[in-house]
Symmetry: C2
Subunit: 309 residues, 2 copies
Protein backbone atom coordinates (compact mmCIF):
# COMPACT_ATOMS: atom_id res chain seq x y z
CA UNK A 1 0.00 0.00 0.00
CA UNK A 2 1.69 3.18 -1.21
CA UNK A 3 1.17 6.48 0.61
CA UNK A 4 0.78 8.33 -2.66
CA UNK A 5 1.05 7.50 -6.34
CA UNK A 6 1.05 9.69 -9.43
CA UNK A 7 1.12 9.08 -13.19
CA UNK A 8 0.67 11.22 -16.28
CA UNK A 9 0.57 10.92 -20.05
CA UNK A 10 1.29 13.32 -22.90
CA UNK A 11 -0.61 11.32 -25.53
CA UNK A 12 -0.38 7.96 -27.30
CA UNK A 13 0.10 7.48 -31.03
CA UNK A 14 2.59 7.04 -33.81
CA UNK A 15 5.73 8.00 -31.92
CA UNK A 16 8.54 6.35 -33.90
CA UNK A 17 12.05 6.32 -32.47
CA UNK A 18 13.35 6.65 -36.03
CA UNK A 19 11.53 9.97 -36.45
CA UNK A 20 12.75 11.41 -33.11
CA UNK A 21 15.90 13.51 -32.75
CA UNK A 22 17.92 13.36 -29.50
CA UNK A 23 17.10 17.04 -28.88
CA UNK A 24 13.36 16.49 -29.33
CA UNK A 25 13.39 13.43 -27.10
CA UNK A 26 15.24 15.36 -24.42
CA UNK A 27 12.71 18.19 -24.60
CA UNK A 28 9.81 15.74 -24.15
CA UNK A 29 11.55 13.99 -21.25
CA UNK A 30 12.21 17.33 -19.57
CA UNK A 31 8.61 18.47 -20.00
CA UNK A 32 7.24 15.17 -18.65
CA UNK A 33 9.66 15.34 -15.74
CA UNK A 34 8.62 18.90 -14.90
CA UNK A 35 4.90 18.00 -14.92
CA UNK A 36 5.60 14.87 -12.87
CA UNK A 37 7.49 16.71 -10.19
CA UNK A 38 4.81 19.43 -10.03
CA UNK A 39 2.27 16.76 -9.08
CA UNK A 40 4.66 14.78 -6.88
CA UNK A 41 5.61 17.82 -4.88
CA UNK A 42 1.95 18.45 -3.99
CA UNK A 43 1.35 14.82 -3.02
CA UNK A 44 4.45 14.34 -0.91
CA UNK A 45 3.61 17.42 1.12
CA UNK A 46 0.17 16.02 1.91
CA UNK A 47 -1.69 17.88 -0.86
CA UNK A 48 -4.77 16.50 -2.59
CA UNK A 49 -4.96 14.21 -5.62
CA UNK A 50 -7.21 16.71 -7.38
CA UNK A 51 -4.67 19.54 -6.87
CA UNK A 52 -1.87 17.29 -8.15
CA UNK A 53 -3.63 16.23 -11.37
CA UNK A 54 -4.78 19.79 -12.08
CA UNK A 55 -1.28 21.20 -11.56
CA UNK A 56 0.43 18.56 -13.73
CA UNK A 57 -2.07 19.10 -16.54
CA UNK A 58 -1.56 22.88 -16.31
CA UNK A 59 2.19 22.31 -16.78
CA UNK A 60 1.52 20.27 -19.93
CA UNK A 61 -1.13 22.72 -21.19
CA UNK A 62 1.50 25.47 -20.90
CA UNK A 63 4.08 23.55 -22.97
CA UNK A 64 4.28 23.85 -26.76
CA UNK A 65 5.16 20.14 -26.97
CA UNK A 66 1.77 18.67 -26.13
CA UNK A 67 -1.57 18.92 -27.91
CA UNK A 68 -3.43 20.75 -25.13
CA UNK A 69 -3.64 24.39 -24.07
CA UNK A 70 -0.80 26.43 -25.63
CA UNK A 71 0.35 23.62 -27.96
CA UNK A 72 -3.15 22.77 -29.25
CA UNK A 73 -3.50 21.68 -32.87
CA UNK A 74 -5.50 23.68 -35.43
CA UNK A 75 -8.96 22.88 -36.70
CA UNK A 76 -9.77 22.77 -40.43
CA UNK A 77 -10.85 26.44 -40.20
CA UNK A 78 -7.42 27.46 -38.79
CA UNK A 79 -9.00 27.88 -35.38
CA UNK A 80 -8.87 26.01 -32.06
CA UNK A 81 -11.42 24.09 -30.01
CA UNK A 82 -10.15 22.64 -26.75
CA UNK A 83 -11.76 19.95 -24.57
CA UNK A 84 -10.99 18.91 -20.99
CA UNK A 85 -12.44 17.20 -17.93
CA UNK A 86 -11.56 16.56 -14.29
CA UNK A 87 -13.00 14.24 -11.65
CA UNK A 88 -12.51 14.01 -7.91
CA UNK A 89 -12.89 10.44 -6.63
CA UNK A 90 -13.98 11.92 -3.30
CA UNK A 91 -17.73 12.29 -3.91
CA UNK A 92 -17.39 11.58 -7.64
CA UNK A 93 -17.61 15.30 -8.37
CA UNK A 94 -16.72 16.36 -11.91
CA UNK A 95 -16.24 19.28 -14.31
CA UNK A 96 -15.90 19.25 -18.10
CA UNK A 97 -15.70 21.65 -21.06
CA UNK A 98 -15.77 21.32 -24.86
CA UNK A 99 -15.19 23.71 -27.75
CA UNK A 100 -13.08 26.17 -25.71
CA UNK A 101 -11.37 28.97 -27.68
CA UNK A 102 -10.27 31.56 -25.12
CA UNK A 103 -9.12 29.89 -21.90
CA UNK A 104 -5.40 29.51 -21.13
CA UNK A 105 -5.89 26.45 -18.93
CA UNK A 106 -9.07 24.54 -19.74
CA UNK A 107 -8.38 22.09 -16.90
CA UNK A 108 -8.62 24.91 -14.33
CA UNK A 109 -11.95 25.95 -15.80
CA UNK A 110 -13.14 22.35 -15.35
CA UNK A 111 -12.00 22.57 -11.73
CA UNK A 112 -13.97 25.81 -11.24
CA UNK A 113 -17.09 24.26 -12.81
CA UNK A 114 -16.73 21.30 -10.44
CA UNK A 115 -16.11 23.40 -7.33
CA UNK A 116 -18.25 26.49 -7.92
CA UNK A 117 -21.21 25.61 -10.14
CA UNK A 118 -24.10 23.19 -9.85
CA UNK A 119 -23.21 21.85 -13.30
CA UNK A 120 -20.72 19.36 -14.71
CA UNK A 121 -20.43 20.09 -18.43
CA UNK A 122 -20.36 23.53 -20.10
CA UNK A 123 -19.78 24.30 -23.79
CA UNK A 124 -17.74 26.83 -25.72
CA UNK A 125 -18.84 30.48 -25.27
CA UNK A 126 -21.15 29.46 -22.42
CA UNK A 127 -18.22 27.98 -20.50
CA UNK A 128 -16.20 31.10 -21.26
CA UNK A 129 -19.01 33.33 -19.94
CA UNK A 130 -18.93 31.29 -16.72
CA UNK A 131 -15.13 31.77 -16.57
CA UNK A 132 -15.54 35.54 -16.96
CA UNK A 133 -18.10 35.63 -14.13
CA UNK A 134 -15.60 33.76 -11.97
CA UNK A 135 -13.05 36.47 -12.66
CA UNK A 136 -10.90 34.43 -15.03
CA UNK A 137 -8.94 36.31 -17.68
CA UNK A 138 -9.61 35.21 -21.25
CA UNK A 139 -6.76 34.89 -23.74
CA UNK A 140 -7.00 35.87 -27.42
CA UNK A 141 -7.44 32.85 -29.67
CA UNK A 142 -4.02 33.59 -31.18
CA UNK A 143 -2.50 32.49 -27.83
CA UNK A 144 -2.62 28.85 -29.04
CA UNK A 145 -1.15 29.63 -32.46
CA UNK A 146 2.25 27.97 -32.49
CA UNK A 147 4.11 27.78 -35.80
CA UNK A 148 4.72 24.03 -35.64
CA UNK A 149 1.00 23.28 -35.21
CA UNK A 150 0.04 25.57 -38.09
CA UNK A 151 2.60 23.81 -40.29
CA UNK A 152 1.02 20.45 -39.34
CA UNK A 153 -2.43 21.69 -40.31
CA UNK A 154 -1.35 23.08 -43.66
CA UNK A 155 0.51 19.85 -44.47
CA UNK A 156 -2.57 17.76 -43.66
CA UNK A 157 -4.96 20.08 -45.48
CA UNK A 158 -2.77 19.85 -48.57
CA UNK A 159 -2.39 16.10 -48.39
CA UNK A 160 -6.15 15.70 -47.91
CA UNK A 161 -6.62 17.09 -51.39
CA UNK A 162 -4.48 14.42 -53.00
CA UNK A 163 -3.92 11.52 -50.65
CA UNK A 164 -6.69 10.52 -48.31
CA UNK A 165 -5.06 7.50 -46.69
CA UNK A 166 -2.02 9.39 -45.63
CA UNK A 167 -4.17 12.13 -44.16
CA UNK A 168 -6.13 9.56 -42.19
CA UNK A 169 -2.90 8.33 -40.69
CA UNK A 170 -1.95 11.82 -39.66
CA UNK A 171 -5.29 12.31 -37.96
CA UNK A 172 -4.57 9.32 -35.79
CA UNK A 173 -1.63 10.94 -34.03
CA UNK A 174 -3.33 11.32 -30.71
CA UNK A 175 -2.37 14.23 -28.62
CA UNK A 176 -3.96 14.46 -25.23
CA UNK A 177 -2.50 15.05 -21.80
CA UNK A 178 -3.72 13.59 -18.56
CA UNK A 179 -2.87 12.71 -14.98
CA UNK A 180 -4.11 10.38 -12.23
CA UNK A 181 -3.27 10.46 -8.54
CA UNK A 182 -3.77 8.83 -5.16
CA UNK A 183 -3.07 11.20 -2.26
CA UNK A 184 -2.01 10.51 1.32
CA UNK A 185 -5.60 11.00 2.55
CA UNK A 186 -6.72 8.15 0.27
CA UNK A 187 -8.48 10.28 -2.34
CA UNK A 188 -8.23 9.57 -6.06
CA UNK A 189 -8.33 12.16 -8.88
CA UNK A 190 -8.06 12.25 -12.66
CA UNK A 191 -7.73 15.01 -15.28
CA UNK A 192 -7.48 15.06 -19.09
CA UNK A 193 -7.05 17.91 -21.62
CA UNK A 194 -6.66 18.14 -25.41
CA UNK A 195 -6.60 20.39 -28.46
CA UNK A 196 -8.47 17.68 -30.38
CA UNK A 197 -7.40 16.37 -33.79
CA UNK A 198 -5.56 18.40 -36.41
CA UNK A 199 -7.81 19.55 -39.25
CA UNK A 200 -11.01 18.65 -37.36
CA UNK A 201 -14.34 19.92 -38.64
CA UNK A 202 -17.91 20.31 -37.38
CA UNK A 203 -16.83 21.00 -33.77
CA UNK A 204 -16.08 17.33 -33.29
CA UNK A 205 -15.61 16.34 -29.64
CA UNK A 206 -13.70 13.22 -28.64
CA UNK A 207 -13.58 11.35 -25.34
CA UNK A 208 -11.48 13.93 -23.46
CA UNK A 209 -14.52 16.03 -22.47
CA UNK A 210 -16.61 13.01 -21.53
CA UNK A 211 -16.81 11.89 -17.90
CA UNK A 212 -16.79 8.07 -18.07
CA UNK A 213 -14.88 7.93 -21.36
CA UNK A 214 -11.87 10.27 -21.16
CA UNK A 215 -11.78 10.74 -17.38
CA UNK A 216 -13.13 8.89 -14.35
CA UNK A 217 -12.31 8.76 -10.63
CA UNK A 218 -14.02 6.98 -7.75
CA UNK A 219 -12.53 6.54 -4.30
CA UNK A 220 -12.10 2.86 -3.46
CA UNK A 221 -11.85 1.91 -7.12
CA UNK A 222 -9.53 3.84 -9.47
CA UNK A 223 -8.69 7.04 -11.32
CA UNK A 224 -8.32 6.84 -15.13
CA UNK A 225 -7.26 9.21 -17.93
CA UNK A 226 -7.53 8.09 -21.58
CA UNK A 227 -5.69 9.02 -24.76
CA UNK A 228 -6.51 7.59 -28.15
CA UNK A 229 -8.92 7.53 -31.02
CA UNK A 230 -11.70 9.31 -29.14
CA UNK A 231 -14.70 7.91 -31.00
CA UNK A 232 -13.85 4.37 -29.90
CA UNK A 233 -13.21 5.46 -26.32
CA UNK A 234 -16.66 7.08 -26.23
CA UNK A 235 -18.44 4.06 -27.72
CA UNK A 236 -17.01 1.65 -25.13
CA UNK A 237 -17.22 4.18 -22.25
CA UNK A 238 -13.50 3.51 -21.77
CA UNK A 239 -12.57 5.10 -18.44
CA UNK A 240 -15.62 3.78 -16.59
CA UNK A 241 -15.20 0.37 -18.26
CA UNK A 242 -11.94 -0.04 -16.29
CA UNK A 243 -13.72 0.93 -13.05
CA UNK A 244 -16.65 -1.42 -13.79
CA UNK A 245 -14.34 -4.38 -14.50
CA UNK A 246 -12.70 -3.72 -11.13
CA UNK A 247 -15.92 -3.10 -9.15
CA UNK A 248 -18.14 -5.81 -10.59
CA UNK A 249 -15.66 -8.09 -12.41
CA UNK A 250 -13.24 -8.19 -9.45
CA UNK A 251 -10.27 -7.53 -11.72
CA UNK A 252 -7.03 -5.81 -10.75
CA UNK A 253 -6.43 -2.39 -12.33
CA UNK A 254 -3.72 -3.91 -14.51
CA UNK A 255 -6.01 -6.65 -15.86
CA UNK A 256 -8.97 -4.27 -16.30
CA UNK A 257 -7.01 -1.59 -18.17
CA UNK A 258 -5.18 -4.31 -20.13
CA UNK A 259 -8.46 -5.86 -21.25
CA UNK A 260 -9.74 -2.47 -22.43
CA UNK A 261 -6.59 -1.55 -24.35
CA UNK A 262 -5.54 -4.98 -25.66
CA UNK A 263 -8.97 -6.49 -26.35
CA UNK A 264 -12.03 -4.20 -26.34
CA UNK A 265 -10.63 -1.14 -28.16
CA UNK A 266 -8.64 -3.00 -30.88
CA UNK A 267 -11.55 -5.44 -31.46
CA UNK A 268 -13.75 -2.40 -32.21
CA UNK A 269 -11.08 -1.05 -34.58
CA UNK A 270 -9.61 1.72 -32.42
CA UNK A 271 -6.34 2.33 -30.64
CA UNK A 272 -4.79 4.36 -27.84
CA UNK A 273 -3.89 4.00 -24.18
CA UNK A 274 -4.91 4.79 -20.61
CA UNK A 275 -3.18 5.57 -17.35
CA UNK A 276 -4.72 4.47 -14.08
CA UNK A 277 -4.09 4.25 -10.36
CA UNK A 278 -6.05 2.20 -7.82
CA UNK A 279 -6.75 2.66 -4.12
CA UNK A 280 -3.55 0.75 -3.23
CA UNK A 281 -1.42 3.08 -5.33
CA UNK A 282 -0.84 0.54 -8.10
CA UNK A 283 -0.21 2.31 -11.41
CA UNK A 284 -0.91 0.90 -14.88
CA UNK A 285 -0.17 2.58 -18.23
CA UNK A 286 -1.12 0.22 -21.12
CA UNK A 287 -1.24 1.35 -24.78
CA UNK A 288 -1.48 -0.42 -28.13
CA UNK A 289 0.20 2.26 -30.27
CA UNK A 290 3.86 2.76 -31.20
CA UNK A 291 4.41 4.89 -28.14
CA UNK A 292 2.85 6.90 -25.34
CA UNK A 293 4.53 9.80 -23.53
CA UNK A 294 4.19 8.77 -19.89
CA UNK A 295 5.70 9.07 -16.45
CA UNK A 296 5.08 7.85 -12.92
CA UNK A 297 6.27 8.22 -9.37
CA UNK A 298 5.05 7.01 -5.98
CA UNK A 299 5.96 7.18 -2.29
CA UNK A 300 8.26 4.14 -2.67
CA UNK A 301 9.92 4.64 -6.07
CA UNK A 302 11.51 7.60 -7.81
CA UNK A 303 10.35 9.19 -11.08
CA UNK A 304 10.24 7.02 -14.20
CA UNK A 305 9.72 8.48 -17.67
CA UNK A 306 8.95 6.48 -20.84
CA UNK A 307 8.13 7.21 -24.48
CA UNK A 308 8.30 3.96 -26.49
CA UNK A 309 7.10 0.43 -25.77
CA UNK B 1 -37.99 -14.62 -25.07
CA UNK B 2 -39.96 -11.90 -26.84
CA UNK B 3 -39.64 -11.36 -30.60
CA UNK B 4 -39.57 -7.62 -30.13
CA UNK B 5 -39.93 -5.17 -27.26
CA UNK B 6 -40.25 -1.40 -27.16
CA UNK B 7 -40.41 1.24 -24.43
CA UNK B 8 -40.29 5.01 -24.31
CA UNK B 9 -40.31 7.86 -21.82
CA UNK B 10 -41.37 11.50 -21.99
CA UNK B 11 -39.42 12.58 -18.90
CA UNK B 12 -39.44 12.00 -15.14
CA UNK B 13 -40.06 14.66 -12.53
CA UNK B 14 -42.61 16.39 -10.40
CA UNK B 15 -45.74 15.17 -12.13
CA UNK B 16 -48.45 15.52 -9.51
CA UNK B 17 -51.90 14.08 -10.18
CA UNK B 18 -53.38 17.02 -8.25
CA UNK B 19 -51.85 19.47 -10.75
CA UNK B 20 -53.05 17.55 -13.83
CA UNK B 21 -56.36 18.25 -15.60
CA UNK B 22 -58.21 15.39 -17.35
CA UNK B 23 -57.66 17.16 -20.70
CA UNK B 24 -53.94 17.53 -20.15
CA UNK B 25 -53.60 13.91 -19.05
CA UNK B 26 -55.49 12.77 -22.12
CA UNK B 27 -53.24 14.81 -24.38
CA UNK B 28 -50.12 13.23 -22.81
CA UNK B 29 -51.57 9.71 -23.08
CA UNK B 30 -52.44 10.30 -26.74
CA UNK B 31 -48.97 11.63 -27.54
CA UNK B 32 -47.28 8.71 -25.76
CA UNK B 33 -49.57 6.28 -27.54
CA UNK B 34 -48.80 7.79 -30.94
CA UNK B 35 -45.03 7.60 -30.38
CA UNK B 36 -45.36 4.05 -29.06
CA UNK B 37 -47.29 2.82 -32.06
CA UNK B 38 -44.85 4.53 -34.45
CA UNK B 39 -42.05 2.41 -32.99
CA UNK B 40 -44.16 -0.73 -32.59
CA UNK B 41 -45.27 -0.62 -36.19
CA UNK B 42 -41.66 -0.64 -37.39
CA UNK B 43 -40.70 -3.52 -35.09
CA UNK B 44 -43.67 -5.75 -35.83
CA UNK B 45 -42.99 -5.48 -39.54
CA UNK B 46 -39.41 -6.65 -39.03
CA UNK B 47 -37.84 -3.16 -38.98
CA UNK B 48 -34.74 -2.35 -36.95
CA UNK B 49 -34.49 -1.27 -33.32
CA UNK B 50 -32.53 1.83 -34.35
CA UNK B 51 -35.28 2.88 -36.81
CA UNK B 52 -37.94 2.33 -34.13
CA UNK B 53 -36.23 4.41 -31.44
CA UNK B 54 -35.41 7.21 -33.90
CA UNK B 55 -39.00 7.32 -35.18
CA UNK B 56 -40.57 7.36 -31.71
CA UNK B 57 -38.24 10.15 -30.56
CA UNK B 58 -39.07 12.16 -33.70
CA UNK B 59 -42.77 11.88 -32.80
CA UNK B 60 -42.07 13.24 -29.32
CA UNK B 61 -39.68 15.93 -30.64
CA UNK B 62 -42.52 17.11 -32.90
CA UNK B 63 -45.01 17.40 -30.00
CA UNK B 64 -45.39 20.60 -27.98
CA UNK B 65 -45.97 18.50 -24.84
CA UNK B 66 -42.43 17.22 -24.32
CA UNK B 67 -39.22 19.10 -23.60
CA UNK B 68 -37.39 18.11 -26.80
CA UNK B 69 -37.47 19.44 -30.37
CA UNK B 70 -40.52 21.66 -30.93
CA UNK B 71 -41.52 21.75 -27.25
CA UNK B 72 -38.02 22.58 -25.95
CA UNK B 73 -37.73 24.86 -22.92
CA UNK B 74 -36.03 28.26 -23.06
CA UNK B 75 -32.55 29.10 -21.81
CA UNK B 76 -31.90 32.09 -19.54
CA UNK B 77 -31.14 34.18 -22.66
CA UNK B 78 -34.58 33.37 -24.16
CA UNK B 79 -32.90 31.02 -26.60
CA UNK B 80 -32.72 27.23 -27.10
CA UNK B 81 -29.93 24.67 -26.89
CA UNK B 82 -30.93 21.10 -27.63
CA UNK B 83 -29.01 17.89 -26.87
CA UNK B 84 -29.54 14.34 -28.15
CA UNK B 85 -27.81 11.00 -28.67
CA UNK B 86 -28.48 7.64 -30.30
CA UNK B 87 -26.74 4.27 -30.09
CA UNK B 88 -27.05 1.08 -32.12
CA UNK B 89 -26.31 -2.03 -30.04
CA UNK B 90 -25.21 -3.72 -33.26
CA UNK B 91 -21.55 -2.69 -33.36
CA UNK B 92 -21.98 -0.15 -30.54
CA UNK B 93 -22.10 2.68 -33.08
CA UNK B 94 -23.23 6.05 -31.78
CA UNK B 95 -24.06 9.66 -32.67
CA UNK B 96 -24.56 12.65 -30.36
CA UNK B 97 -25.09 16.42 -30.49
CA UNK B 98 -25.14 19.28 -27.95
CA UNK B 99 -26.05 22.95 -28.11
CA UNK B 100 -28.28 22.60 -31.20
CA UNK B 101 -30.30 25.69 -32.20
CA UNK B 102 -31.51 25.10 -35.74
CA UNK B 103 -32.38 21.43 -36.28
CA UNK B 104 -36.00 20.28 -36.28
CA UNK B 105 -35.17 16.74 -35.17
CA UNK B 106 -31.86 16.52 -33.30
CA UNK B 107 -32.24 12.73 -33.02
CA UNK B 108 -32.12 12.37 -36.82
CA UNK B 109 -28.96 14.47 -36.92
CA UNK B 110 -27.45 12.05 -34.36
CA UNK B 111 -28.44 9.19 -36.65
CA UNK B 112 -26.74 10.89 -39.62
CA UNK B 113 -23.57 11.49 -37.60
CA UNK B 114 -23.58 7.80 -36.61
CA UNK B 115 -24.24 6.52 -40.13
CA UNK B 116 -22.40 9.01 -42.34
CA UNK B 117 -19.47 10.51 -40.43
CA UNK B 118 -16.37 9.09 -38.79
CA UNK B 119 -17.29 10.96 -35.62
CA UNK B 120 -19.62 10.40 -32.67
CA UNK B 121 -20.13 13.79 -31.02
CA UNK B 122 -20.56 17.17 -32.77
CA UNK B 123 -21.36 20.53 -31.16
CA UNK B 124 -23.70 23.41 -31.94
CA UNK B 125 -22.91 25.30 -35.18
CA UNK B 126 -20.39 22.61 -36.16
CA UNK B 127 -23.09 19.95 -36.00
CA UNK B 128 -25.42 22.25 -37.97
CA UNK B 129 -22.74 22.75 -40.65
CA UNK B 130 -22.51 18.95 -40.96
CA UNK B 131 -26.32 18.79 -41.25
CA UNK B 132 -26.27 21.37 -44.05
CA UNK B 133 -23.60 19.39 -45.92
CA UNK B 134 -25.83 16.33 -45.61
CA UNK B 135 -28.64 18.28 -47.25
CA UNK B 136 -30.70 18.78 -44.11
CA UNK B 137 -32.90 21.85 -43.94
CA UNK B 138 -32.30 24.13 -40.96
CA UNK B 139 -35.24 25.68 -39.08
CA UNK B 140 -35.23 29.21 -37.67
CA UNK B 141 -34.64 29.27 -33.93
CA UNK B 142 -38.17 30.61 -33.47
CA UNK B 143 -39.42 27.15 -34.54
CA UNK B 144 -39.07 25.97 -30.91
CA UNK B 145 -40.74 29.06 -29.41
CA UNK B 146 -43.98 27.79 -27.92
CA UNK B 147 -45.95 30.17 -25.71
CA UNK B 148 -46.22 27.78 -22.77
CA UNK B 149 -42.43 27.30 -22.60
CA UNK B 150 -41.80 31.04 -22.75
CA UNK B 151 -44.29 31.54 -19.91
CA UNK B 152 -42.39 28.92 -17.85
CA UNK B 153 -39.11 30.73 -18.43
CA UNK B 154 -40.45 34.14 -17.49
CA UNK B 155 -42.05 32.72 -14.33
CA UNK B 156 -38.77 31.10 -13.27
CA UNK B 157 -36.66 34.12 -14.16
CA UNK B 158 -38.91 36.29 -12.03
CA UNK B 159 -38.94 33.91 -9.09
CA UNK B 160 -35.14 33.59 -9.29
CA UNK B 161 -34.91 37.25 -8.39
CA UNK B 162 -36.82 36.79 -5.16
CA UNK B 163 -36.98 33.18 -4.15
CA UNK B 164 -34.04 30.94 -4.91
CA UNK B 165 -35.34 27.75 -3.33
CA UNK B 166 -38.51 27.72 -5.31
CA UNK B 167 -36.60 28.33 -8.51
CA UNK B 168 -34.33 25.41 -7.71
CA UNK B 169 -37.37 23.19 -7.45
CA UNK B 170 -38.62 24.34 -10.79
CA UNK B 171 -35.29 23.53 -12.40
CA UNK B 172 -35.67 19.96 -11.28
CA UNK B 173 -38.69 19.28 -13.50
CA UNK B 174 -36.92 17.00 -15.90
CA UNK B 175 -38.05 16.95 -19.45
CA UNK B 176 -36.35 14.50 -21.73
CA UNK B 177 -37.71 11.98 -24.20
CA UNK B 178 -36.22 8.61 -25.03
CA UNK B 179 -36.85 5.16 -26.42
CA UNK B 180 -35.29 1.69 -26.26
CA UNK B 181 -35.97 -1.29 -28.51
CA UNK B 182 -35.18 -4.93 -29.25
CA UNK B 183 -35.96 -5.90 -32.84
CA UNK B 184 -36.81 -9.27 -34.39
CA UNK B 185 -33.22 -9.64 -35.67
CA UNK B 186 -31.97 -9.40 -32.07
CA UNK B 187 -30.52 -5.91 -32.29
CA UNK B 188 -30.86 -3.38 -29.48
CA UNK B 189 -31.10 0.40 -29.88
CA UNK B 190 -31.53 3.49 -27.68
CA UNK B 191 -32.21 7.19 -28.31
CA UNK B 192 -32.61 10.25 -26.05
CA UNK B 193 -33.40 13.92 -26.79
CA UNK B 194 -33.96 17.06 -24.70
CA UNK B 195 -34.35 20.82 -24.67
CA UNK B 196 -32.34 20.89 -21.42
CA UNK B 197 -33.44 22.76 -18.29
CA UNK B 198 -35.55 25.91 -18.25
CA UNK B 199 -33.54 29.06 -17.58
CA UNK B 200 -30.20 27.28 -18.13
CA UNK B 201 -27.04 29.35 -18.53
CA UNK B 202 -23.47 28.87 -19.75
CA UNK B 203 -24.46 26.30 -22.41
CA UNK B 204 -24.87 23.66 -19.73
CA UNK B 205 -25.08 20.12 -21.10
CA UNK B 206 -26.70 17.31 -19.13
CA UNK B 207 -26.51 13.55 -19.60
CA UNK B 208 -28.72 13.40 -22.69
CA UNK B 209 -25.86 14.12 -25.10
CA UNK B 210 -23.47 11.75 -23.34
CA UNK B 211 -23.02 8.20 -24.62
CA UNK B 212 -22.72 6.04 -21.48
CA UNK B 213 -24.75 8.43 -19.30
CA UNK B 214 -27.94 9.41 -21.18
CA UNK B 215 -27.90 6.66 -23.80
CA UNK B 216 -26.27 3.26 -24.18
CA UNK B 217 -26.93 0.13 -26.27
CA UNK B 218 -24.94 -3.07 -26.65
CA UNK B 219 -26.24 -6.22 -28.29
CA UNK B 220 -26.33 -9.12 -25.85
CA UNK B 221 -26.65 -6.78 -22.88
CA UNK B 222 -29.22 -3.95 -22.91
CA UNK B 223 -30.42 -0.63 -24.33
CA UNK B 224 -30.91 2.25 -21.88
CA UNK B 225 -32.30 5.81 -22.05
CA UNK B 226 -32.09 8.09 -18.99
CA UNK B 227 -34.13 11.03 -17.75
CA UNK B 228 -33.35 12.96 -14.62
CA UNK B 229 -31.06 15.43 -12.95
CA UNK B 230 -28.37 15.22 -15.62
CA UNK B 231 -25.34 16.13 -13.51
CA UNK B 232 -25.84 13.08 -11.29
CA UNK B 233 -26.42 10.80 -14.28
CA UNK B 234 -23.10 11.98 -15.78
CA UNK B 235 -21.15 11.53 -12.55
CA UNK B 236 -22.25 7.91 -12.10
CA UNK B 237 -22.14 7.12 -15.86
CA UNK B 238 -25.76 6.02 -15.46
CA UNK B 239 -26.67 4.22 -18.70
CA UNK B 240 -23.44 2.22 -18.86
CA UNK B 241 -23.66 1.50 -15.12
CA UNK B 242 -26.79 -0.59 -15.83
CA UNK B 243 -24.96 -2.46 -18.62
CA UNK B 244 -21.87 -3.01 -16.43
CA UNK B 245 -23.95 -4.40 -13.54
CA UNK B 246 -25.50 -6.84 -16.01
CA UNK B 247 -22.26 -7.79 -17.83
CA UNK B 248 -19.88 -8.06 -14.89
CA UNK B 249 -22.22 -8.17 -11.88
CA UNK B 250 -24.50 -10.80 -13.46
CA UNK B 251 -27.61 -8.83 -12.50
CA UNK B 252 -30.94 -8.86 -14.31
CA UNK B 253 -31.89 -5.62 -16.08
CA UNK B 254 -34.55 -5.01 -13.44
CA UNK B 255 -32.09 -5.36 -10.55
CA UNK B 256 -29.38 -3.35 -12.32
CA UNK B 257 -31.63 -0.42 -13.25
CA UNK B 258 -33.32 -0.63 -9.83
CA UNK B 259 -29.96 -0.39 -8.05
CA UNK B 260 -29.03 2.68 -10.12
CA UNK B 261 -32.32 4.50 -9.56
CA UNK B 262 -33.13 3.43 -6.00
CA UNK B 263 -29.61 3.37 -4.51
CA UNK B 264 -26.77 4.97 -6.49
CA UNK B 265 -28.49 8.13 -7.79
CA UNK B 266 -30.42 9.03 -4.61
CA UNK B 267 -27.36 8.28 -2.43
CA UNK B 268 -25.45 10.88 -4.47
CA UNK B 269 -28.34 13.35 -4.05
CA UNK B 270 -29.94 13.14 -7.48
CA UNK B 271 -33.17 11.81 -8.90
CA UNK B 272 -34.79 10.65 -12.14
CA UNK B 273 -35.47 7.42 -13.99
CA UNK B 274 -34.38 5.13 -16.81
CA UNK B 275 -36.04 2.85 -19.30
CA UNK B 276 -34.27 -0.30 -20.46
CA UNK B 277 -34.72 -3.47 -22.48
CA UNK B 278 -32.48 -6.53 -22.43
CA UNK B 279 -31.65 -9.18 -25.04
CA UNK B 280 -34.64 -11.30 -23.92
CA UNK B 281 -37.05 -8.41 -24.43
CA UNK B 282 -37.53 -7.73 -20.71
CA UNK B 283 -38.45 -4.11 -20.13
CA UNK B 284 -37.78 -2.11 -16.94
CA UNK B 285 -38.82 1.50 -16.25
CA UNK B 286 -37.78 2.48 -12.68
CA UNK B 287 -37.91 6.10 -11.40
CA UNK B 288 -37.66 7.76 -7.99
CA UNK B 289 -39.65 10.92 -8.77
CA UNK B 290 -43.38 11.65 -8.46
CA UNK B 291 -44.00 10.42 -11.97
CA UNK B 292 -42.49 9.51 -15.32
CA UNK B 293 -44.32 9.65 -18.64
CA UNK B 294 -43.73 6.15 -20.03
CA UNK B 295 -45.12 3.45 -22.28
CA UNK B 296 -44.24 -0.04 -23.43
CA UNK B 297 -45.30 -2.76 -25.81
CA UNK B 298 -43.85 -6.10 -26.92
CA UNK B 299 -44.60 -9.02 -29.22
CA UNK B 300 -46.64 -10.70 -26.46
CA UNK B 301 -48.48 -7.83 -24.74
CA UNK B 302 -50.39 -4.82 -26.03
CA UNK B 303 -49.52 -1.17 -25.38
CA UNK B 304 -49.36 0.04 -21.77
CA UNK B 305 -49.15 3.72 -20.88
CA UNK B 306 -48.33 5.14 -17.43
CA UNK B 307 -47.72 8.55 -15.86
CA UNK B 308 -47.71 8.20 -12.05
CA UNK B 309 -46.15 5.63 -9.73
Amino acid sequence: MKKFAFALHGGAGTILKSAMTPEKEKAYRNALSQALSAGESILKHGGSAIDAVEKAVIEMENSALFNAGYGSVFTHDISHELDASIMDGNGRRAGAVAGIKRIKNPISLCRKIMDKSEHVFLLAEGAEAFAREEGEELVPESYYSTDSRKEQLLKIRDSLKTQLDHADDQLKKFGTVGAVALDTAGNLGAATSTGGITNKRFSRVGDTAIIGSGTYAENGVCAISSTGWGEYFIRCVAAYEVAALMKYGKMSIEDAAGKLINETIPEMGGDGGVIGVDQGGNITMPFNTEGMYRAKVDSESGPQIYIYR
